[in-house]
Symmetry: C2
Subunit: 525 residues, 2 copies
């Protein structure tokens, strides 16, 4: 395929760019791709135009088609395991695509309810189980084969019938990808309708997918300019952290001074489930501009640092499944082997949760302050009140606000400033220098001290700490894009992976929730 | 590696050849390899000499080593999921190999009992479950999230703790192969000791392995002379149906007029889990001699028949897991693509169960006959009695036996003849022609009419019928080897796969237990 054609192809692909409905993973750094939802609804539209049915206004036809697909689904579940089944499964996949989202929802509800756990059987076994002599007795030898059998039967009976459909699709060509699309539908349906049975269907499918996509089954490949256009266009389409603007840009991302690695699953060929972009640098970059160069700043053989500047996952239907696991470790091993002179492995990462956390903290705290001013007595709320700002920060902020309308205390001023539409504060030479030390200190606190169930509150931080990284440095105005400013006040963070520490750090983060950080960061607190 | 070295290597490999302890699969055609048990105990011996422990007479040391391995196993199960775990899992694998079979048995018992299901928790959840309003009510919408949650928790609680170890090993380098060795140990232990907990451990592991080795995860490769010696030596070692005698023989199996395909799993590289050998012929071979030629009888482009003459599985630890599923179908597709002029796909298969069935049938029936002669009244046993032989067969057999001592009726004569050590009957020009029509008729009956739970009693027959084959022809004295004579009276059978029928036949065999057979076979009944 000529570059011209590829370029046209890619431009075509770039067009569709409406925001996706749901976050692609627990950690925003692994970005939801703005096209995948589009892709998959395109699949659906294409299918429709093929079938010319879901679009058809003829309700009768639609109903008949729905009935056929439902019938196929039934045979796909109840049919015996023969070659004929392959045809049925293919028919079901095709039929499913031909359905409108409404009909898909109807179908999934049927699946969730009609093909659920056989509860009569479960209750029967449960009674038998309780009937047996208490197995919790210390004499474990007392356990009879009968007991083990009932236990096993119970375990099996508790599996919903729709597990059959999932497992058959998993071993069916294209089935795994189909399941991830089906789950994408499920997730988008769940945002509108909260049905316990559908949520159960989803969490069950999620569990299965997580198992089938275990790191053992994923293959790490370096993606280069020599890869097929069909693969490269997906990189363009899915790169969501720092969108790829054109063909030249793509070639740069794969060219000298850069690397791109993807996790592939044998059943989903030609399409990475997740990919990571690496820049080879002399030092750890502080701003995204340093990374998105047009021409490599240094020859590769002078690089001492491999910077992970983007991780994108591609399947909306795999949301919540940690595909990144082991990815970074494997990439480090690969790069190290290829370039022994690279000694530092770092990231330049967003801090997706920072502003959200700060704004809610500020609003709650200024409310407490309000109350306290109102009732001089210690109102119950005040027990939750804390000093968010240092005295000098309080002062600096108050000095910023001419009139009292802008706020009766520092927190209110800060809250107002940060809440202004399209983040004007970031462009004001008067405000910026005042906010810098405040936001940098609060950001360090957010990263190092704000926890959820013992783990870092920030999902990206949690991801890298899990993998054995440490918080090295936070960088002011490292991402001046509107998203960067609104999400994290333009601040970006370098997580650093030091080979000699990865295991220990991961271990101590898991074991004792210890967040390793550089002295530089600690000094900001 | 020079051919000379390879030859030496292979000869070395050929030496060890003691019969394996346990059948490798439900269908003997997929033969247990006589070396694998040896291999794996060799692994173990090698390990020992490395460690120099299990061989050591110092009981104290052995005990300490055992304790260490047990400790490692505990951390492998209870440790948190970090990189450190990798080291623990590797240590456990190494440690396990260093144990004597006795200590492995001790360890597996600990695993089966100490890391079993948490039954207190199960009973607790079961009570909660029964506490909830009857969910079997028609109003499925009534099911609350609470109910689903408890159900899910119960499902999880019913998983034995040792599942963690299996799953972690599965995603650990070399872990899958280790698990198959561990299961091989389990199976050999179970032949000696029948412990419910160990049997439960085994069936649970078998279930897991079956899932992890689903056809979706297996890759089909053609094995050629260009493959690495390390792979080829395994073909030599594992081929068990028609052993490969030397390097030249191996080269022939992979050379002109033949094909060899293997199922590989990404986690067990360089070693097929199962492989199938194909001979390209002009017609469907009737005897194994026709297949094991030294020089191809015809040029490949004149071949119209692809004959599957050997299927060998390589991992004793995967006994009972049907790896052959889809294998034949995939191979047919591959061969067809490569050689469109091949129109017939057939097997030349053993009938492993025939003689065993016939002998037990004869002995029981002649006992009934005995009784009937004794008590002229209809003894209850006589209700089970049937005429195994036709009158003319009865006559022919009696005429064979000079004196009455050799038997008072045809069945007894036949029984005596067939029971004689090293099957002399097969070499007697007097007896052979008499037995031929009788054994051929009874063999046809065995293949087409003797069922177990509706399916063919013969495991090989059942395997091929499942895959959509038909019983085409039985061949007299097709395998004159001692094994062939004793197992199936020297008879071999051709199963034929006709592309246009595969799906229908498989379906009707599954659905209505219909065994498709050629008129030729039917006429023998």
């Amino acid at each position: 395929m000529s570059k011209k054609n590829l370029a046209i192809l890619l431009r075509a692909r770039m067009k569709s760019n409406n925001p996706t409905k749901f976050s692609l993973s627990q950690f925003p750094e692994i970005q939801s791709n703005s096209n995948t939802q589009e892709n998959h609804s395109r699949d659906h539209i294409v299918q429709n135009s093929n079938e010319g049915i879901a679009n058809s206004s003829d309700f009768g036809t639609k109903q008949r088609v729905y009935d056929v697909v439902r019938e196929t689904m039934h045979s796909a579940i109840s049919g015996s395991k023969t070659g004929v089944l392959d045809i049925t499964l293919s028919d079901f996949q095709e039929g499913y695509f031909s359905l409108s989202l409404e009909d898909r929802e109807k179908l999934l509800l049927v699946l969730a309810k009609e093909y659920d756990v056989n509860r009569e059987q479960v209750r029967e076994l449960v009674k038998q189980y309780l009937g047996l002599e208490n197995p919790a007795s210390d004499d474990k030898d007392a356990l009879s084969s009968v007991f083990y059998r009932i236990e096993r039967n119970l375990r099996h009976a508790l599996r919903p019938t729709y597990e059959v459909l999932f497992e058959r699709l998993n071993t069916h060509p294209g089935g795994l990808r189909f399941l991830s699309i089906l789950r994408a539908d499920l997730l988008s349906i769940l945002t509108k309708e909260n049905s316990p049975s559908l949520r159960t269907l989803d969490s069950f499918l999620k569990e299965k997918l997580g198992m089938w996509l275990s790191p053992a089954t994923l293959e790490l490949h370096q993606i280069t300019w020599d890869d097929p256009a069909s693969l490269l266009e997906k990189i363009v389409a899915y790169e969501a952290v720092h969108p790829i603007s054109n063909l030249l840009d793509l070639k740069r991302r794969l060219g000298i001074g850069r690397r791109c690695f993807g996790y592939f699953h044998p059943s989903i060929p030609g399409e990475p489930l997740i990919f990571i972009e690496v820049a080879l640098m002399e030092t750890v970059a502080q701003t995204i501009q340093e990374v998105l160069w047009d021409n490599p700043p240094i020859p590769e053989n002078q690089a001492t640092c491999a910077l992970f500047y983007s991780i994108s996952s591609t399947q909306p239907g795999l949301a919540g499944i940690n595909l990144g696991k082991f990815l970074i470790k494997r990439v480090i091993t690969l790069v190290k082997k290829d370039m022994p002179h690279v000694s530092t492995f770092a990231t330049l990462s967003p801090i997706p949760g920072f502003m959200q956390w700060l704004l809610s903290k500020l609003s709650s705290q200024s409310r407490f302050a309000e109350d306290e001013r109102g009732t001089q007595s210690n109102s119950p709320s005040s027990t939750f009140s804390e000093k968010v700002l240092l005295p000098e920060e309080e002062q600096a902020l108050m000095s910023l606000s001419g009139d009292s309308s802008s706020g009766s205390n520092g927190m209110e001023v800060l809250l107002k400033l940060l809440s202004v539409k399209n983040c004007d504060w970031a462009t004001s030479p008067r405000i910026l220098p005042v906010l810098e030390p405040i936001l940098m200190r609060l950001c360090a606190r957010y990263l190092l001290q704000e926890k959820k169930r013992g783990k870092a509150l920030d999902s990206v931080a949690n991801f890298h700490l899990q993998n054995g990284a440490m918080v090295e440095r936070i960088n002011w105005m490292a991402d001046r894009s509107e998203k960067g400013i609104c999400q994290s006040g333009g601040i970006m963070v370098n997580y650093v992976y030091r080979l000699e520490n990865i295991e220990d750090y991961a271990q101590s983060y898991f074991g004792s929730d210890k967040i390793h950080a550089s002295p530089g960061i600690h000094s900001r607190l």
